[in-house]
Every structure is written in structure tokens, then in C-alpha cells.
């Protein structure tokens, strides 16, 4: 019963964002020179691919009502680590390197989650500290070095397009999203995570081991941040310490635009994808309309605030029902 109601809400919200997205795309097609060109759409799709995974990384902890401020740094650690392996150990099979990269991502998340659980320090402060800890580790170890050599087979990932010029990066990203949908809605662990996010005490009394859930959520977040980091180094063709520096705002914007609430318990992966699409499309449009790129930040903040307003209207609408 409850489930059906929640599903209906999500569908209605998604309708709203789909309409908005369609309108924006129509406007841009007609007024922004070059928007509909295959080159632009291809580049845009690659950006969307990365932002989707960044948004999903934040979604992973939003599901239990936590915030992960350090996902940019986690992505940086994983991206740099993978870049290092690609450059220095290129004789290893690509699949092993990528696996090691993902494990590194998982490790960064695991350490953070375990830390939160063990020390019981406020999660916000812990993730705030880990921003500095992880990025500090990267700069401390690499001393600002960048890794620019990548094996041919890895570089090919960025160039590959499937079907109608859809970049492989986007397909990978959507596959990740599909895995998450299965994880959250069809597995026991996923249900437990959502339950814990919804009502921690009730979940504990229901026998769910909330400690494991917290660690699991943060590990997942780290893995996804790592995935985004690897996608990013593929896109850039190099691993630099600036990866993830601007991820914080978009990591919240994508889920929030998509209807995820911050207190936990309700996630919308499709919504996050749509939110990522909306943000990237708007920024792309601004770029094509010759708006100075210095104003992009303002627009992103404005979009985020706009989404809060929309959320407010949604709530009012829901309460009236």
C-alpha cells in the first residue's frame, strides 16, 4: 500500500522534470547554435555520463540520510591511482587495473564509513575532514604530478560510440545506474538501506544491523565516486589532482532535482539521471549561447535553489492530497 503511493509520487515528480527537460532541449535546439550537432550531443552525453555517476555516489549515502562531502576527493584518489597504474603498469590486463581502481574506490568509502561507525563522530564532520585527508594524500604522495600516458585500449573507451553515436561512456554510466536500481529495489541489502534511512530506530528494532548498513552505504558511495573518477580520466585522457574538485554541488543537485529527499529512505535513480541531464544540458546551453563561463557557477546555484522551490510546491501539493 505504502509502496504504491510512493511509486505514484515518484512517477508524478518524474513527469515534472521530464517536461522541464523537454522544454529546455526544445529551446536550445532552436536558439542555441550547434546544440543539435552530433559533435555537441556526443560531448554532452559524455559529460552527462560522468555527472550521473557522481550524483549516484551521493545518492548512495543520501539513502541512509548521510551526506558525503568527500566524494570528489574519493574520485580523485581512485582516478589518480588508476591513472598511475595505467601509466606505470600498463603491462597488466586492463580488466585487472580497472578492478583495482574500483577496489580503491570501495576502500576509500569503506574507511570513511568504518570511521563514522567506530568513532560515532558526526558524519558531516567526518566527511568534511576526509575531503582534506584524501586530497591531501593525493597531493602528498604524487606531489602534483599528473599521469598522462594511457594504454591504447583504455583510450579507446573514450572514443567508442555505440549505435547512433551514443558514447560508450554513457552506456557504462547507465549500466551502473541499472545495477543500482536492482541493488536498491530488488535485494535485501538495498531494502535494508532504505529502511535504515527512513527510520533508523525502527530499522534497528527490526533486526537490521545498522552499523553494517552505514559502512555499506559509504563503501558504495566510494566505489561510485571511484567509477566516476575512472570515467573522468578516460574522458580527459589524463589523471590530474583536480578531478572531483567541482563535484560537490552537482552531486547534490542531480539527486535533488530528481526528487530524492535528504532525510533518507527514498531514492530515485531515474530522477538522478534526469537531474544530471537537466543540469548538463543547461550548462551546455549556456556555453553555446556565449554566456561567460564564469557565470556557470551562479546558474548552478540558481538551479539548485530553483529545485528547492519546486520541492516546496511538490510538498504543498502532496499535503493537499
Amino acid at each position: 500500500m505504502q509502496n504504491k503511493y510512493v511509486k505514484r509520487i515518484i512517477r508524478e515528480e518524474l513527469l515534472g522534470i521530464i517536461i522541464a527537460l523537454t522544454l529546455i532541449i526544445l529551446v536550445l535546439v532552436f536558439f542555441a547554435e550547434g546544440f543539435a550537432s552530433s559533435y555537441n550531443l556526443n560531448a554532452l552525453s559524455k559529460t552527462i555520463a560522468i555527472i550521473i555517476v557522481v550524483g549516484l555516489s551521493q545518492l548512495a549515502v543520501l539513502s541512509i540520510g548521510h551526506l558525503n562531502l568527500a566524494l570528489g576527493s574519493m574520485g580523485c584518489v581512485t582516478g589518480m591511482f588508476t591513472g598511475f597504474l595505467l601509466q606505470e603498469y600498463s603491462n597488466l590486463p586492463l580488466f585487472i587495473i580497472l578492478l583495482m581502481g574500483l577496489l580503491m574506490g570501495a576502500l576509500t568509502g569503506f574507511i570513511q564509513g568504518a570511521f563514522i561507525v567506530k568513532t560515532k563522530i558526526n558524519p558531516f564532520i567526518v566527511t568534511l575532514a576526509f575531503v582534506s585527508i584524501y586530497i591531501g594524500l593525493v597531493t602528498g604522495i604524487t606531489k602534483g604530478e599528473v599521469f598522462t600516458r594511457q594504454p591504447e585500449i583504455f583510450m579507446a573507451i573514450n572514443r567508442t560510440n555505440i549505435l547512433f553515436e551514443i558514447p560508450l561512456l554513457l552506456i557504462i554510466s547507465l549500466a551502473v545506474a541499472a545495477i543500482l536500481i536492482v541493488l536498491f529495489f530488488r535485494t535485501v541489502l538495498g531494502r535494508q538501506v532504505l529502511a535504515a534511512g527512513d527510520n533508523l530506530k525502527a530499522a534497528t528494532f527490526a533486526g537490521i544491523n545498522t552499523m553494517y548498513i552505514v559502512i555499506a552505504a559509504h563503501t558504495l558511495s566510494g566505489t561510485l565516486a571511484g567509477t566516476a573518477g575512472i570515467l573522468q580520466i578516460s574522458r580527459l585522457g589524463a589523471a590530474t589532482p583536480t578531478i572531483g574538485a567541482d563535484w560537490l554541488l552537482i552531486s547534490f543537485a542531480a539527486p535533488i532535482l530528481g526528487g530524492t529527499i535528504l532525510s533518507g529512505g527514498k531514492v530515485s535513480i531515474i530522477g538522478t539521471i534526469l537531474g544530471a541531464m537537466m543540469m548538463s544540458t543547461i550548462v551546455n546551453g549556456l556555453f553555446l549561447l556565449d554566456v561567460s563561463h564564469f557565470w556557470f557557477q551562479t546558474f548552478l546555484g540558481g538551479i539548485l535553489i530553483g529545485s528547492y522551490e519546486i520541492n516546496k510546491l511538490r510538498r504543498r501539493y502532496l499535503l493537499q492530497k
Binding site: 563522530i121 558526526n122 558531516f124 564532520i125 575532514a129 554541488l249 532525510s263 557565470w295 551562479t298
Partner: protein, 342 residues
Amino acid sequence: MADSTKQNNKAKNNLLATAAKSNTAGILAIIIIASLVMSFTQKEFATAVNFNVIARSFSVMAIVGLAQMVILGMGGMNLSVGAIGGLVGVTVGGLMATLNWPISLAVIAGLFVGATCGCFNGWFINRVHDPLNRLNVTSFLVTLASASVFTGINLGMTRAVPIYGLHDSFISVSRMTIGGISVLILIMIPVAFTVAFIMHKTSIGRQMLAVGGNSRAAELSGVSISKITIFSNIISGILAAIAAIIVISRLGSAQPTVGEGWLLFSFAAPLIGGTKLEGGQVNVSGTVLGAVLLALASNSLVHLQVSVYWVTFIHGLIIVAAVGIERLRTISAEKWGTYIHE
């Protein structure tokens, strides 16, 4: 039997009182010990020059910490302190250098911009606030977005180009010393006292702490949460503005990047100093001492010739250590606490 338990409780009561006070004493002890160690082991540490370097640094950090502290006290958080700082910095710099405004007018304009940004924050938090969410989630979201907006306006106006050509007398203020002590401390101390006065001695300060402690109860007691939100955010904005003005005086130019590193320290200083993250309790002297400790740590790292690449990592460790110690204190205080209420 009853007598001995009463005596026991009295003894533990005193211990608790000392434990509570020990926060400030504890930080002071760490500062003194660290300073002594550094003075004896490093050549250049115990000099007047170095003292003023630390002093100039912690004066700014203290004010930034206070800007965050007042919001923490009322149960929120302000992620836009750095962004407001940057925007105020370039505004004041631009007015002075490009439009040739006199210093006093430019400074007042800067404070006004800070207050306006804060007002914007407060107004939006009120608009967006959902009573089902805790206040600090709402303020987190709003200030996350507003930080982007302010930085965006900053970069949009300056195109990331620093503004040079500030009035000479303005720049020299940060280098002045009175009796060997940097003038900046003499600016920071009255600011800190004013904040302490507002928080502890005025009705509105008490209302802020009440909202932070239990917003529902405060509301039922007649406190207007929306007014308090706007007021505290305005104060926070003004404090961020003051810090920014000091920084651009020190730098000698208005860099659009002012405020970029403020976020971590803005939380670290109050938390080290005993301000609670959840709100309801602030410690002004603790925040100032926390800033001193942070500045001392940064300065020590330079003397110890720690590679600049590791500094960020160590900052992260410091905040963990600070909050961790605070947690241990709270846990032990809770243990003692159970004996007080028979």
C-alpha cells in the same frame, strides 16, 4: 548511606564543573605546551616577527570561525562563509581601486554586501525550510547553493582577475603594530567580545541558542524562528565580510580566490573550542583559542619544513582529532552526568 552518596555527588559535581571548564583550559594548555616545544626546538619560532605572523593568521581565522559559530549556535550551518568573503573582498577592492571610493565608504559597503548575502541566506532558508527536516539540513542545502551563487557573481564580475591598486593606507593597516603587537589582534578582540556579548548577554542571543537547542520548544515559547534565522545569518555574513576585508588588506590586492580555504577552518575553530555541532551551545573564547591552535599548527608545519603537499592532509587530521577529543569529553561528561540527577 544517604550522607555518603550526597558527598559523592558533590565531589563528582565539582569534577564535572572542572571538566566542563577544562575545554578552554585544555586548549590553552595544548597551545602553551606546543609553543614551548616549538620555541625550544626551532630557531625562528620564538621571534616577534613569527608571533605577528601567527597573530595575523589567527585573527582572520578567529573571525571566520565566529562567523560559522553563530550559525552553529542556532542549529544551522553556513557553507557560504568563504563565498561571501570572496565576494566582499572583490567588492571592496573594486570600489577602492576602480571607482576610487574612500576607504571608510568601501569598507562600509563591504559590510553591507556581507549583511545582504547573509540576509539572502536567511530568507531562503526560511522559504525552503521543511519542519520535517532538521534545520541544519536546510541550511546546508541553501548555503551550498548560495555559495555557488556568490562565487559565481564574484567570478562573473572579476573574470577571475585580481584587483590591484588598493589605497596604500588601507594596505598598511595590516602591517601596523602597536606596542609590537599586530593591529589585527586589536581588531579581532573587540569583534570577539561583541559576538560574545550578543550570544550571552542579549535576549536575541539567548533566543538563537534556544532555537539551536530545541527549535520546536523555542517556537512554542514564542521565539520567531524565521527572524532568528535571518538575524544570525546577517551576523554571520558581516563577520565573514570583516574577515575578508582584513585579508585583502594583508594581501594588498583583492583576489577572487579569497575564502576558498575557509570552509574547513570555519568549522574546525568552533568545534575545537567546544561549540556543539548540533547547536544550542557556543563558546566564543574557545573558538578564538581554536583559531590560535590552528594558526599555530599551520605555522609549526612551515617551521618543521613539512612538505607543502602534505599540509592539506594534516589539516584533515587536525579536525578529526579535535572533534574526536570533543567526543571523548562528551562521553566522559555524560558518565559523570548520570550521577548528578540522583
